[in-house]
Amino acid sequence: MSVPELTCEELVEVVTDYLEGGMPAERRLLFEEHLAFCEGCQTYLEQMRETIRLTGTLMEDDLEPSARDALLGVLRDWKRR
């Protein structure tokens, strides 16, 4: 019988589901059991939360015109691929 648990790689793959609340309860339990002992994944989760918080508060007027143009250029190129 193996130990039911998530690896760090698996946690990284499902972190968005966790943050969006789209994960079944048993999976969330495994996710949080892993977090309880894994400092690296705790840091990763914090970074994801902070990234979401910061990007969620970013408004169009907050960007310099040159930064906005550069970002739109990247998105246009990405869409063509």
Binding site: M1, S2, V3, G21, A25, R28, L29, E32, E33, L35, A36, F37, C38, E39, Q42
Partner: protein, 169 residues
Amino acid sequence: MEALKFLRPGRVAPFTRVTWPPPGQWLAAAAPPELCRSGVHALLPDVLATWIAQELWRVELDGGQELAPGIVVAARGRLLGRVQAWSDETAREFARACAAHARRHTRGLAAEYAADAAAAAEKGVAGDSATRVGYMAARAAEAMTPGGFAAERRWQSRWLADRLGVPTR
């Protein structure tokens, strides 16, 4: 019902980041209790070792239900008092005990896991590092015997409950 709750410094819940109110004041959930999703979550002593954090509190739950082994969830809860016996020193004792227990019956690769746990035990603190030593010791036990992980976790939780003087079921 009474249960236990590990929190981060400042009465902060480890996963939701909710700050619990001072002892005696109720913390109410915004939605009906649901495992790992909503409701006030707390622990029974059987699973203490899995959820270690810096602060350990006794909590009162209003109508708590055990929705997973050792995990109770309620619509609201309040802190009753801090378990003062849980400290960095106790955490090091716990980490040493875990490592020693695992080393007693391991060999080969499992003994290497147990040795890693023993080396880490001296740096154990009440936060993350004691938790990691417990985890390593449980992995060592599993490497020796299938089912060893769960058995070692039960042993660790009993050790903690005894050392901290919290009643078990």
